[in-house]
Symmetry: D2
Subunit: 337 residues, 4 copies
């Protein structure tokens, strides 16, 4: 169920909002090409069919897809997410998020931050709380790691993206990070999605290894329906029978998502491939297919990395890749405009 | 890393425990065919190679699989989990868990409980907190639903299994349920696994749609490594390209798991198939393949169910299926002993 | 397009057949519970809508599934395929096909034939022309192997099933075998399907690793539409992300197929699992799920096998498994009748 | 087993060839950066270990991968396949193959040929013998279709690629086509692979929907081992759980294949996506990831196509896509050289 206000005055909106909210509906205001549009949504249909009769300003709509707020039906302009350091995601610039898999030390983060900034990244990535298949594997430095990452980012005027796994960690991660990352294994952890939704912070939502595109958009909807429209979708490879790569990068997901949603789409070739040699061709492919950004593992010394060294780029390889990426993105941009 | 005590006296165990714990190791005591064995495990190897020298009673072992506590290496007898109502899981009886997908009302639960008890179930299933792909779908009755389920179960002397999605709900679910269920989508939600591990309560861990058998055992290890050995593994179908069934029941997972772990293995044919007509042949197949139990959706009136009606059995179909299941299990039992 | 004659006299049938055939239709006569029914089918709809007007005996039908001859729409009784040695497939007996992966020698086949006959098999399996992933792997003994298999089978009054890969080999295989096997990799090799269809010989069609159940039935339809109704469907595992087993036995395919088609369904647990230890539980599961038969790799000395030794049962293991299988099938039979 | 001659004189080669061939070995001569290298290969190891002792010019090698002739071990320069119309595949030019799914008429082919030529294609594609899931679907125009395609191609100086399904059709297809295509469903139809291998004609081998990259290279090896080094590999999407696209284009397969083999790699975005709207982004991604060419469905009037109209580009869309593709390929080329 959905009620769209498209021609109502501010007064009409205010007047009816009370009635709608009393009916258990929730208001969502999104900016569209026609200005802000407020949508009221609720869990069931009780009596809502009569709402349009209240005022011609309200139109009752039966959505054709189960993800309403994520769909282009409700918002026909791309969502652009702006961070404190000036980065905008989903706009005309390609956003580059880069950094090591895990935060390991002050010096490692400082070096990584400097290197990725130099090559054009504006967001620093790094894991302080790590989801590991084994309970005995390195689980991350936690709060200490968050502080190291924040310090390194601040020195380079980078924003910070880091993963949240445990709802209990949300407050502290919100304090240190600009973007909360939801990992692939938690893509359908609905309790966590609702909780990061409530923070209002930008969320980078990774697609699960076996999440269909429709389920992925429904997972985003869990965040959006808490009133948080700052969701970045991240394709990072799906699980298939092929074993040459860790996962199979679903390159088609980029244009399919762009056709269905106004949310920005970034690509993580590092986790998809699991092999640094494949990152450059996959990153180029992602940009050619229309991605709004990339998230890449870069480590000053991959051979000593505590985690995922095999899939991390050295700073020099990252720099030479970024040159090609920028050239390609410029070429793509001439066709867009 | 792992340290096994196999010939030490109680005094030796006590004496060295302090030293081990100071080294960051944790003690796990499991019962084996040779009596209780205490294993010390820790996150890294620091200095542990010298431990055996302290006393010949301690043997330092390099496990061949990454799930140590779940493996048969450490425990060569089947784990049997006993519930308050006398049900035991993993022992000589086939355990039957049955009930509706969602708790809907007192009368629905009362009727369901009576029906499943009559046909031999000893555990009542039902969802009070529901994981739904869409945030707008019915999310369950919550606490009120838990109470309805407990009442219905108590009248029939059934145990209760129900899903926990949000760590915040763990205390209240522990109060009303005998077994905490972790759903397929949370199979690798490590924060939640650790928290249900800490409760010590029996946990029914459903295999994720995209989880390999090795990853599944590693997920169990997250619970076990919190000192909670009461884990029941549940095969419920994996995601494949086939669309005739909702998921593909991985029947081979039963003998593969039984060859690798001492934990009980139950099968959920209802969610695997997504179609009540397939439940009987799949349930029979599961028992023939060696399952320790079944978890089946039974609803007094599937056509009015708020959720998953299509895959719910009517009580009469359940009764006639249980007759065949019991006959088959008796036949299987004669070959086991 | 399909035209059904259900109440016409023999004369009406003869009279109209000429007209139908001139319209490019082909006649298929199948036996049903109401006696033989002749169906006329053709590649397009041209003018066929007016056919029923010719005689009320003809009913023009729009099939709801794309596999017409394979479906229960056209034939409501199980297809039973009878072989020269008295074996019938799809009837009241469970059919057991067993033998080595590859024909290797006279003595190996003699020993295998004796062993499988003793435990109740009535069909001898063995590969003379082998489909191997590598062109450098052992490709089979060819004609010489066919002769060895026939000799061994004849001595034990067994029927012979063997794979055909190359259309050129069809005549010679027809001479020596009772059933032509189409391997999983050729499941959608339409040229080959049509050619084995034309022989009229019973065909064991293995499901491809990547073939949906609908595609599988369409592949069978290629054989049936050549006028050969003697098709046996064989589930042998599909490809998924799981790596503990060579393929994932799709146990649900058995009841799904039985609900859609009148053709017999057998199961090959050896190729599905790729591990002899899993054959017994999977074979029991297949029978419990309603399979009409099993095809099992049995080798007198698996450790010396030229191919697939790891998944071959020794004769003694096969014998003890067959005891349980027979007991289970008897139990199942009491419920069917 | 493999024997490499790298420093021998022509005389030594001739002298030993007789001995090798008598031992059941077959000679393969490939051109490498060090000039032509002749490799002798055979089905088993019998006595071959002593071969190097015959002459120091021969080196006995144990290959690290099971596809020897397809691997870079044996040939370190890219294979370039030259067609009669001047097209070369695998060299410095991007090759574009385009045309309708099925040959339907003289005028359709003439129009398609003109349109694709205009936009830069040098190879005309079109199906005369069609592999269809259903035996009742349009099976192609056969020989008549071949002639129409050849005529249309000749008028525009295009080469012709078309699928061969039945070994019986090989001679006639060789007469009319420049490249024989093996479809995805026949990727492991080893009998057919050997037969197209024997023709010596260029072969476009499509990856099967569930063929791993290693199995794909082994399938190519079946063709190569018949002495036909003119194999073009084609990635066309694999089967996964995702249903938004017909198949999932495995973009990573491009760099993975390029790292393992000297054979050219082309990409078919039309069959991968099953939706014309996705063709442009996927084609751009394929070129960005390093593909040597593209094979694209272009139909003058997709809405009237007898087959796959939904995934066919109109000529104008194809033209505008080709502009971007060419610009991208030029950019890529500057980095290669």
């Amino acid at each position: 169920m959905i009620v769209l206000m498209n021609s109502g005055t501010d007064n009409e909106l205010k007047e009816h909002s009370r009635f709608f909210e009393a009916s258990g509906l929730r208001a969502y205001t999104v900016s569209t090409s026609k200005g802000p549009v407020t949508t009221f949504m609720g869990p069931d249909h009780a009596g809502l069919e009569q709402l349009p009769k209240l005022s011609p300003a309200f139109q009752c709509m039966q959505p054709s897809v189960p993800y309403v707020l994520a769909s282009k039906t409700i918002k026909d302009t791309p969502t652009v997410i702006r961070l404190a350091n000036g980065t905008s995601i989903g706009g005309k610039d390609l956003v580059i998020m880069a950094g090591p898999c895990s935060v390991e030390s002050e010096s490692q983060m400082a070096e990584a931050a400097r290197a990725v900034k130099e090559s054009g990244a504006t967001v620093l990535r790094g894991g302080a709380f790590k989801p590991r298949t084994s309970p005995y594997a390195f689980q991350g430095l936690g709060l200490e790691g968050l502080k190291m990452m924040r310090n390194a980012a601040d020195r380079e005027e980078l924003a910070v993206v880091t993963e949240v796994m445990d709802p209990d960690d949300i407050p502290v991660i919100c304090e240190y990070a600009d973007i909360l990352q939801i990992g692939a294994r938690n893509c359908q952890n609905f309790a966590l999605l609702k909780k990061v939704g409530k923070t209002g912070k930008p969320v980078l939502l990774k697609r699960g290894m076996m999440t269909t595109i429709e389920e992925f958009l429904m997972a985003a909807e869990y965040i959006l329906s808490e009133g948080n429209m700052n969701v970045i979708l991240c394709e990072r490879g799906i699980r298939t029978f092929e074993t040459e790569t860790r996962n199979t990068l679903d390159i088609s997901a980029i244009p399919v998502l762009k056709s269905k949603t106004h949310l920005p789409v970034v690509v993580d070739p590092s986790h998809a491939a699991g092999n640094w040699k494949l990152i450059e061709p996959l990153a180029l492919a992602a940009v050619a297919a229309g991605a709004d950004g990339l998230i890449i593992e870069v480590h000053p010394t991959p051979e000593t990395a505590l985690c995922d060294g095999k899939q991390s780029l050295r700073p020099d390889k990252f720099a030479s890749m970024m040159e090609k990426i920028n050239q390609l993105y410029s070429m793509m941009a001439t066709h867009r405009s």
